[in-house]
């Protein structure tokens, strides 16, 4: 029989194995993404073309650079959010059907660490196409942005908002049979109301208020404020930054708790696999 020897307590600490568990799960996500890189590349090309066509349509056959400067951040946010939702939801559905989700949860690592790893992979999977498109349009059309360190704060918050949304959709996948349709509807809402085609400040007032509840919309608004050179103080003063902080906190917490809750419920009901 296998002999098991216990090492000295605390020999490895707590952080190292936890980080390794997160890294392992994230690495798997990236390896799977690499295997379907053709789909990722096609997605980048299609999203870029769609964005360009709509911008030409809005500009009456011309590309209006001030509009592009205001909507390009929304494209980046949309791609991160949509990828997190689609890949998170599709990925976990595939794992449930294939039974690999059960094997993943035979790990001694806490489910929260595995969730963190999954989230890290989703972030990378969303950010890679977003960065590619941002560089392509940014370098290609050189929008008038006042790039400053202030922009990093709303950028990080927008990404967190997008990931919270993605995690929420992933969590719902374990509960809803028709999650594919749900994700597409929500992604369309993020696309149209998140300022991807028209900045949300140009929406009619009622729709503008409603749009601010949509994932990434507030983040894009604050990002545009900082890229216009007005700094975080202006965003704080007009109330968009505090609302963004609240939005991110609520959505991230909701996504995280919903994911862990649905996992626990799946274990109680035997829902980690399709069988």
């Amino acid at each position: 029989m296998t002999a098991i020897t216990a090492p000295r307590p605390g020999a490895q600490g707590v952080l190292g194995p936890a980080l390794r568990a997160v890294g392992t799960e994230a690495g798997k996500g990236l390896a799977l993404m690499w295997r379907r890189r053709a789909i990722t590349i096609t997605g980048i090309a299609l999203n870029g073309l769609l964005y360009l066509m709509i911008q030409f349509f809005i500009g009456g056959g011309h590309l209006v650079l001030p509009v592009l400067a205001l909507t390009l951040p929304a494209l980046i946010a949309y791609i991160v959010a949509a990828t997190a939702a689609l890949q998170g939801s599709g990925g976990i559905a595939e794992e449930v059907n294939a039974g690999t989700l059960e094997q993943v949860h035979l790990s001694p690592a806490r489910p929260s660490l595995l969730a963190a790893g999954r989230l890290a992979a989703l972030a990378a999977e969303g950010l890679i196409p977003a960065i590619v498109l941002a560089l392509a349009f940014g370098l290609g059309y050189r929008p008038h942005w006042a790039i400053s360190p202030d922009a990093l704060v709303p950028l990080a918050l927008t990404i967190a908002d997008a990931l919270g949304y993605g995690l929420l959709m992933t969590a719902l996948t374990l509960r809803l049979a028709s999650i594919g349709a749900v994700v597409h509807v929500f992604n369309m809402a993020v696309m149209f109301l998140g300022g991807l085609f028209v900045p949300i400040t140009l929406f009619p007032h009622g729709i503008e208020i409603f749009a601010r509840f949509v994932p990434t919309a507030l983040g894009v608004e604050v990002l545009n404020t900082t890229l216009a050179g007005r700094g975080l103080a202006a965003a704080w003063a007009d109330g968009t930054l505090p609302w963004l902080l609240a939005h991110v906190a609520v959505l991230a917490a909701l996504g995280w708790l919903a994911y862990l809750h649905t996992l626990r419920r799946a274990r109680r009901e035997g829902g980690l696999s399709a069988r």
Binding site: M1, A6, T24, L106
Partner: protein, 351 residues
């Protein structure tokens, strides 16, 4: 083979002690029940199952579809939470010491791919090894050995999706073994495999038990596989264990001498009283079969004398003993026969 496990680091604050509990019981289930909510009612999938498997034993858990085998295995893995009862793995309580408990097991689950088909065999083994807390340096030599022994080394960098079903199953088994766990839970490990692949898997299971002393809990519908591999058989029906005996004991307890006589037509018919109780005659186009279950030598000679007297031409006389399949079908058909009738003592089971 020895390997080091750090017991607390992956789940701090949850484990009772960093020292591995030593146990006489590798897999222990006490009063385990699982009820699922189905609509407004409850469906009892597993009811009051108590099972104690000593280290190094191969136990076959048999039952018809929906009997509760898979639910039981998933509860042992901690993938499904029991409604009542306790489960231990080498002394670790699965509910309260999950991290320690899952380190004791490797599992191949039925109806699942078990591994990532888009990834290569090598990537899968490295991933599952790391996921279970091992470092890459410890995983590599073991992965190399497993893939070599399973004949997959040359194709280790190809995606598992491109493999045959048998090769995919071998990768799943290798992934379950990557941490060298002392307990293996195999839910239908040979299902869907061709004869050669099934033979490889069977040989592997037999070797793991014999040479490495692994405790194996095996479910299968292929009763020949269970009879070949398991030293103990538990039969589950409607969520309850209805038989639990060492394989030899189960076979001998239900064994009966069964003679089969094949003849040409019996022109004058058999005289009344020649056929013993339970005997029956089946007339076929080619031959007539006379089945004598539970017949002794005297009964056999009496029937043979009767056949000679009736002018029948004998083709063959053979003796058959019921296999596990016959016994299983009888148990499933007859249902619970009382715990005393089909349960062995702890000493018998260990033996």
């Amino acid at each position: 083979m020895a390997y080091a496990i750090n017991f607390n680091v992956m789940n701090p604050g949850r484990e009772r002690s960093p020292v591995a509990p030593l146990a006489d019981v590798a897999i222990g289930l006490t009063g385990v029940t699982k009820r699922y909510q189905r609509g407004k009612g409850l469906l009892t999938a597993v009811s009051e199952v108590t099972l104690s498997v000593p280290p190094g034993q191969v136990i076959g858990l048999l039952g018809p579809n929906g009997a509760g085998k898979t639910t039981t295995i998933k509860m042992i893995c901690g993938l499904v939470l029991p409604t009542a009862g306790t489960i231990t793995l080498n002394g670790y309580d699965v509910a309260r010491q999950r991290a320690g408990a899952v380190r004791q097991i490797g599992a191949v689950l039925e109806g699942s791919r078990n591994v990532y088909w888009p990834l290569s065999a090598w990537q899968n083994l490295m991933y599952f090894g790391r996921l279970k807390g091992l470092r890459a340096v410890a995983i590599r030599p073991r992965a190399e050995r497993l893939l070599t022994e399973l004949g997959l080394w040359e194709r280790r960098h190809e995606s598992v999706g491109s493999f045959s079903r048998g090769m995919q199953q071998k990768v799943a088994i290798a992934a379950a073994l990557i941490t060298d766990p002392p307990v293996l839970l195999l839910d239908e490990p040979t299902i869907g495999l061709d004869v050669a692949a099934a033979r490889t898997v069977k040989d592997w299971i037999a070797r793991l038990a014999a040479d490495e002393g692994k405790t194996v809990l095996l479910t299968t519908h292929q009763l020949g596989v269970a009879q070949e591999l398991a030293s103990r058989i538990a039969v589950i029906r409607d969520g309850k264990i209805i038989a639990d005996l060492p394989t030899g004991e189960l076979l001998s307890r239900y064994a009966e001498d069964r003679f089969e006589i094949r003849t040409r037509k019996i022109p004058n018919g058999l005289r009344p009283g020649v056929l013993p109780a339970g005997g029956r005659i089946e007339h076929g186009a080619e031959a007539t079969r006379i089945l004598l279950p539970g017949a002794g030598q005297a009964d056999l000679y009496r029937v043979l004398d009767g056949l000679r007297a009736a002018g029948s031409q004998l083709i063959s006389v053979s003796q058959a003993r019921p296999g596990l399949e016959d016994i299983f079908l009888r148990l499933i058909r007859d249902g619970e026969e009382g715990p005393g009738a089909v349960r062995a003592t702890a000493a018998e089971r260990v033996a």
